[in-house]
Point group: C2
Chain length 366, copies 2
Amino acid sequence: MIVPTHRVHNFNAGPAVLPLEALERARNEWFDFAGTGMSVMEMSHRSKEFLALHAEAQRLLRELMEIPESHHILFLQGGASLQFDMVPRNLLGEGAGADYIVTGSWAEKALEEGKRHGAAREIWAARESNFDHVPQPGDALSIDPAARYVHLTSNNTIHGTQWKHFPDTGDVPLVADMSSDILSRPVDVSRFGLIYAGAQKNLGPSGLTVVIIREDVLQSCAKNLGPMLAYRNHVKNDSLYNTPPTFAIYMLRNVLQWVKDLGGLPSITARNERKAELLYEVIDAFPELYRGHARVDSRSTMNVTWTMSDEALEKRFLAAAQDRDLIGLKGHRSVGGFRASVYNAMPLMGVRALVDHMRSFAERNA
Amino acid sequence: MIVPTHRVHNFNAGPAVLPLEALERARNEWFDFAGTGMSVMEMSHRSKEFLALHAEAQRLLRELMEIPESHHILFLQGGASLQFDMVPRNLLGEGAGADYIVTGSWAEKALEEGKRHGAAREIWAARESNFDHVPQPGDALSIDPAARYVHLTSNNTIHGTQWKHFPDTGDVPLVADMSSDILSRPVDVSRFGLIYAGAQKNLGPSGLTVVIIREDVLQSCAKNLGPMLAYRNHVKNDSLYNTPPTFAIYMLRNVLQWVKDLGGLPSITARNERKAELLYEVIDAFPELYRGHARVDSRSTMNVTWTMSDEALEKRFLAAAQDRDLIGLKGHRSVGGFRASVYNAMPLMGVRALVDHMRSFAERNA
């Protein structure tokens, strides 16, 4: 394995760190993919080599996430933002209702697009506490049994919260934006009518969106939509209605193979839990200095958010972090402070470097 | 420069051959973009390094194509297929009309989406001769002066035809799908209200769409569209409303820099003309064997199409071509025979290898 001479600890929220092994494989195959004498970017999406790659990426994702045969896997473009539109455009229909659980800014944007297409309704929101928690088991959610779907965001990048137990929505299909925690832990996919995720956190580069849609939900989709906005059309054409983002799909394949080689979701989950634990431990060890933004029951394993009491201190913390090659830690302006994004590809070593910094900074400023 | 050990002559129609220099630069910067200690895929699209790259790609495109300040440059997703939808969605409006010049299959698809949004009308089509030509100066086009726009496809990948002189549409904005010949020759951009192009022929990898829109056309766009489908929103946010396909934009930058280093459009044009000339010469030299599909006045410099009288011969030609590492020559099923796509990045050397093959095959089968 080539070890790059200068590689920082990359805590970016997305686009984010990628597994070194996935990057390296791409670099090795750069001029000659699968013995074709060309780069994977230079070949037809209808060639047998690309079709095999496309199928391999689907198969690996199905295997790793244990996606049942009832669910189709799509590779689309436009990110979660286009899914905010496509979900209600396909599933809602005029006069019909959908229930949105609003756990942060991205959920708010999804709701807004829902309202553009039908009677989308906010049924929960923790705005008063700046989205510091998500609903817990036992919390009443007042889901309309006639709703076409219930929408939630499984992990909230900005606020650093994450669902640990998904709600029981009865016969109403559950739709989830899993952009920032897909493939980070086991999820019972059969319970979801539709899952979507921008690739740029846990799956690969930006410019690729994964959609997982259950057959009965597909059957309920609106007809007569334009081909690019219709799930029906993309399923019918196995995501090859038009030229897909071939290189991003290639990188997805490399990332999925890396997850598999590591031992699949059980290993990834254990690794992610350990990483998050180390960070929350140091936050909790210095409560006078570090204030975790997320409520303990809602703490995310993907995005760890905290603030400090003093802005001057925050500036010093960030500058000292940069000196240690700890990059991308500035929190989103709506929370302030810090955010360490520790997606699948963030190695334990990077988290340890950050924890060391947090501990020594705290001890110096006790 | 690293010369790959095995690189074929890649005549794929798209995704297609990329400049070796652009690929090599990417490989050299693979683990460390701009001294950041990470790959360009791993960094925030809001980082100063990415913003500089994004601006550089826009600036290079503006410089090379001489795009006036009246026109905005957008980097979007979804390919030309999504533009087939976005153009009428933004520009047409219910009850309004638009005129489509149908020079091939892609133009037909564009028209179909036009009809979904308003009174789109086919004003020209050469279906009876299997789209072997495009309108010529002097041909009557009966453009409705009240039309919101006139749509054309500047180069027809499947049929191998290309506009040499764009029509005068008076005050009606001209909209062009330039997916397969953008940046291949000088074009007076000021004459166009909107230009769009999927990147995967002359600009870079698939998954990126370039849109060039004139300010007055932008002002006439529909309001209250969802953000992802509204040109207004993308212009307002300088294509950064949501996470863009960062790696594809990076590759676009590398390709544009290569064009500039080569001497810009004058050099590229001369090179493309020479390449096409060589191919049409050999087709014309053996009229008993090779039949050019496109009418002489409409011949494309990007996609050269021809058939043979005999299917068995065609099979032998293709097999012998493959033996010489001449790849991607099979014609589209609606034309049959062969298609040599010779986009900007196809070196003269590759064309010479194909011409040699055509000549020796013809001589052996005279």
